[in-house]
Point group: D2
């Protein structure tokens, strides 16, 4: 199994790797990375463009899924974040499947005919024209933003560009506690991370 | 790209395939398949045991993720369901990566050292001893049940067997509507599908 | 107990009455009427201004709480709705405690020094100046709207007018099923009714 | 307005009073007190039996609603809690409408023909026979418990006693943040307080 050396160690299943990465800028949660990947069908062989890389978590999550024949190209305009993301990619043993690019996605996307473009940035609507050009027909464009105004502008701008809005969702996870004295949901927890918008070319 | 012929057609990304499968016994939702796979790290190269196959949706979802070097072995004791699941596997073009077995998982698991065992059945606690034997150290055992009593019994029986309960969660998706007159959550929707329990060897 | 003849019949507790009212324009849910009343402290003796009356449900709900010394004045500019609301008030036996006014609240509020003003209308920000004048110091202004843009504009306009935004909330109710085979949340249900905003003079 | 001296001060609307009470044993949340009262129609003139009083919050909340002709009788077997609850009742200015009784509700209920009985205790099923005797026909019995096993046993025991289970619900409140940079749900918050069960005689 040459592609994922981190899995050779039994204590190194992917959720374990994920926990050991260095956290810089706020990272995407595992649940949201899961929904983004599942609803776009990211799997072995897919070619994905991602921006901004941030700490690299979403790129690494998707990089693990596109192995061994696909690739994730993750754009990050800040040099310090790009370096951190690249370091995390190496820690995850995914250097062959994730390329961190210290470039501004608003200036252009080098790749063509990609399956999915994911945008984890405050102003994803500014990347729509470049994303549309990079996507193959039927490909997915995804944005991940915390606020309502952000996904609304993204959806409206996508529709003006001729892309089809599929859905915008929130995903919530609630943990259940199993104790001797009874079973109940956790008392406190995360109420909101971000809205995920799926658009299709 | 010999492994996933269904992706050669641009209109055949995985979420599209999923919608074209034949629905027999109640199927798992995409969100729950996503969380199960994400929280256990299912990806290329993983070997997974699944039961009961039902219509085969979870097996197919995971089969797409373990390509091209992993495999999903899905047990189903009812012959009619096993045939339906096998037909769906062929429709998805995943015959090389998903094997439907018309066998009762309570009678034994043929595979050894698997990464993950998933149980989508009313009485998952009955499969704990066989699942524990089949799992490698550090491997994940997952159950998916609709009721509180079911996951409680599963968690308590797992702990008696020396397996570690990691968490039991519910995953909810709420869609947001973007209309000219405003942005708001959908009015009606799915409030509950099932509880997902993650246990580790 | 002269004030609430409908309670003299044991089958006529208030939730029963509520179900027998005539439903015209979309009515507020019991959960939202409960949260509005609880978070503003509506109880015996309170004087409340309400608009628009619609079918009169919120006015009736609050009218039952302000008995026997308080009063609800409910504005409704559409004559047909005002008649329906007045009919429902009579059915509920609350004619002494709820006055339906066929008037446009944007044109003025007759009452002064009221404890609470509730606005169940698409454009509640237009009623802010009149509501502010009608409220006593420390009184509550509440809006109930389905969309995000609506409560945002209401909050921002209130703050410009010198009113203090306390909170905007969504209230969700999820029912649990107790069956012989197990206990679980209901499968489908109401995901969203409206956002409730509380502002204070 | 002789009945609610605390409302004579403009800074003393009921939600303000609520915040100034002394917190001893864990108190019920305002949202849950609101749903309990709304779904049972508690309002002026109602006679309510409550147990256990704890810090007295639920009794005080209901006492404010039953003014000026109704009354809440709140049972508490622990003397220290009963004293605390009585002190809070005085602070709220509701001494005429809430009576704290240092008695064990399992030993008997002095009142007859009450409209509602509320049980905020770990083992509400033990109070069913006494509650049934105290309730008038059509009256409501309510339990408030944190765990699934608790409301299940309560529901099943009520049904054995000939009381009708109406519903068991969870109520969630999610706050929305209105900031200059956007509108979004709060990040963290309360995921669970308790399950509320409504049963009817």
């Amino acid at each position: 199994m040459p592609y994922y050396p981190f899995l050779q160690n039994i204590l190194m299943a992917f959720p374990d790797i994920f926990r050991k990465l260095i956290r810089g800028p706020q990272i995407i949660t595992l649940k949201d990375a899961a929904i983004i990947s599942a609803f776009t069908g990211i799997s072995s062989g897919c070619r994905v463009v991602d921006a901004g890389a941030g700490s690299g978590f979403l790129a690494i999550y998707m990089g693990n899924l596109v192995r061994p024949e696909g690739k994730v190209f993750s754009y990050e305009r800040r040099e310090d974040f790009a370096k951190l993301a690249a370091k995390n990619v190496e820690r995850a043993g995914l250097g062959s499947f994730v390329e961190i690019k210290n470039k501004d996605i608003f200036q252009g996307i080098d790749e063509k005919d990609v399956d999915v473009v994911t945008l984890d940035m405050p102003d994803p609507w500014l990347a729509i024209p470049n994303a549309k050009n990079a996507l193959k027909d039927g490909g997915f464009l995804v944005s991940y933003v915390p606020s309502v105004e952000q996904f609304r502008q993204f959806v409206l701008d996508c529709e003006k560009t001729g892309l089809r809005h599929q859905q915008t969702v929130e995903c919530s996870i609630r943990e259940m506690e199993v104790r001797e004295r009874g079973t109940r949901p956790q008392t406190k927890g995360i109420m909101h991370t971000g809205y995920i918008t799926f658009v299709r070319k």
